[in-house]
Subunit: 378 residues, 2 copies
């Protein structure tokens, strides 16, 4: 291995401009409890795009630099800059998760034991050729599992598991999920079938109804259909779902879900309650496919909540033991329940091509990218 | 006393029309643990208007009937009718709270002890000449307290106390309150001074800044000022408030509050957190002065929540002992901390005059009505 490696960086400049580039960084000597992972696969998840794009309008992106050392710039609107205050003029590495081979290790036994193993890693800065990381952030993959197969062991699988666990913790009986045709959505369908959890899937295109039914989904509602509100209400009555996880964020969908939950709750209520049903209706926004404002009509009584939902605070809440159990389940089912599929593998430099950004930045269903930071560099 | 009395009724008709009218209802014989209260004062609180107006557009209101038996009709938009499904074609009594003299009582000692006493009552249907109610819903007022002085012992005082209690229960250190020039807002200012709780008041007019400062408020931010976002952020930094109670509901104010809370939180954060600050920021919507949609820009990280807040579920949550303590505090301070003022006293028939509806329906600051259901009828 070399002493340096390429790393993808994202910088929000104080003048309201995003800069994406590659830098050569020195690979630090691993401490006793650390290993050096040669990263062979790291997915571009929707949850990476916030840090990567820094709130920039990527339709304004321009390219400069060379093919092997590209630079991308894009404009950031003034109202988005407010939220970026904490990261202005800092060159930040990107990439929540990935997998690769341990090529060097610190002195401890647990580190040495990982040498040569393919491990999944959760810890940021994974869009790097080499990542020095604590052994506790590594999940050794079962023999015969490739880096690509194990690259997405954390974000989507733990998010899907986290949704089901949140449902149980907060006393709901079934789930609603939006953008349900996504990689995560399909994973959640498999998980809910396995765990016998009622699930109402909301998609935005008629062809996705077919897709999800073909993998076993019972309830799939198309938000583009004129009968959407009735379809959703009926599915909510059937499942009793009062908790939704929404990846879209913007627009009226969260509000529509709450409205239909309220109608469903009132269908079973015995008498009129002046402030609406007494059933708590909750939507957690965990993504922002639509970055426009969320619009709530509030035509759903007074017993409701909307909030942000993030994996890390959730894992902190349930504690290390419960988190470990979830991770072990993911490792055991990485090729079945928690398998991911990708449409394209790109190098770090290719990930900064405007044409590629236009595709993965759209976060369209069936367009999932995998970065191989060592592609053509080994 | 007579065997019947007038009662104000609100009906949402299936064809999308609201009807307000007065009906003569028989006064039931009180059971052992009940009393008959001659209602001499019942406030029109913002929280009464939802049930009263049934989601109707009151600018379409028309009057018919006679001066002593008026009938008001108004149109209800189709999207509001969805939320009204549970009350269609039911003639519902209105009025959360009020006060009056106990004129008859059931056989029990606790009921008999109240005869002749002036009591505050929480229990609905208070826009009635006579209200038969359980003794447990009555709060005997200290001697020398009039019905008008004790008419608003529950909704506003317990809501103000409930805000402070919610702050403590959910681990926040200070409060934000919108529409802070309201009767409730002024009460909350007095309460927070007494209890030494940090309070950021948001008003919509410059003259209200003066008004609230004159009664002792430290932080008053005018949302109509060009410096509003900065003013609010500074007040949030000073107080550390991460919980807001919003009476407005519609528009961008809740979103602005969360945005400023996020900026305030990041000002004290040590390093950039990619999903925004880890401080939980919460807005509870407890009113709907602006019935338009709530618009959330979501430029405030991922650790936030918005939800409905209602007094009754809150009191159920804290339990009967804690609730009783709050009520006893209200009775003790009904002429000081929890005093209300009214601009007009109207009879039941006057409350249904279009000119009066136009005034109290606006919920403008300093325009608070008191209904005296026995005005000119005794």
């Amino acid at each position: 291995m070399t002493n340096t490696g390429l790393q993808l960086r994202s910088t929000v400049k104080k003048e309201g401009v995003l800069e994406l580039s590659l830098v050569q960084v020195a690979t630090a000597e691993p401490k006793a409890d650390e290993v050096v992972v040669r990263v062979d696969a790291a997915p571009i998840n929707p949850s990476d795009l916030g840090l990567l794009f820094g709130g920039a309008d990527m339709s304004t992106a321009t390219a400069s630099g060379s093919a092997s050392s590209p630079v991308v710039n894009a404009k950031i609107a003034a109202n988005m800059m407010r939220a970026m205050a904490g990261r202005v003029d800092q060159s930040l590495p990107v990439g929540n998760e990935g997998a690769g081979v341990v090529v060097a290790a610190g002195a401890s036994e647990s580190a040495q034991n990982l040498v040569g193993r393919t491990v999944a890693v959760f810890g940021g800065a994974m869009y790097s050729q080499y990542r020095v990381i604590k052994t506790s952030n590594c999940l050794p993959l079962p023999p015969g599992t490739s880096a690509a197969e194990g690259a997405a062991c954390f974000v989507n699988p733990l998010t899907a598991l986290g949704m089901v666990e949140t449902m149980k913790l907060e006393g709901h009986n079934a789930l609603v999920h939006t953008a349900a045709a996504s990689n995560l959505g399909q994973m959640l369908i498999k998980l809910c079938i396995e765990d016998q959890v009622g699930l109402v899937n909301i998609v935005r295109k008629p062809e996705h109804v077919k897709l999800l039914k073909s993998i076993g989904a019972t309830y799939v509602c198309d938000s583009s259909a004129p009968t959407f509100m009735d379809d959703l209400t009926n599915a909510l009555v059937s499942t009793g779902a009062t908790l939704a996880f929404d990846a879209i964020g913007g627009g009226r969908l969260a509000s529509q879900i709450l409205t239909c939950m309220e109608v469903a709750a009132n269908k079973t209520a015995k008498e009129y309650s002046r402030y609406g049903s007494t059933t708590h209706k909750q939507v957690y926004i965990y993504g922002g496919l639509d970055r426009g404002p969320t619009e709530l009509t509030r035509s759903f009584g007074m017993v409701w909540g909307i909030g942000g939902w993030l994996l890390t605070p959730f894992l902190q809440k349930i504690g290390p033991d419960a988190s470990r159990k979830l991770r072990e389940r993911v490792a055991a089912e990485v090729k079945t329940t928690f398998a991911s599929t990708y449409t394209k593998e790109v190098s770090l430099a290719e990930a900064l091509q405007l044409g590629e950004i236009a595709v993965y930045g759209k976060q369209a269903t069936g367009q999932k990218y995998l970065i191989n930071p060592n592609k053509r560099l080994q």
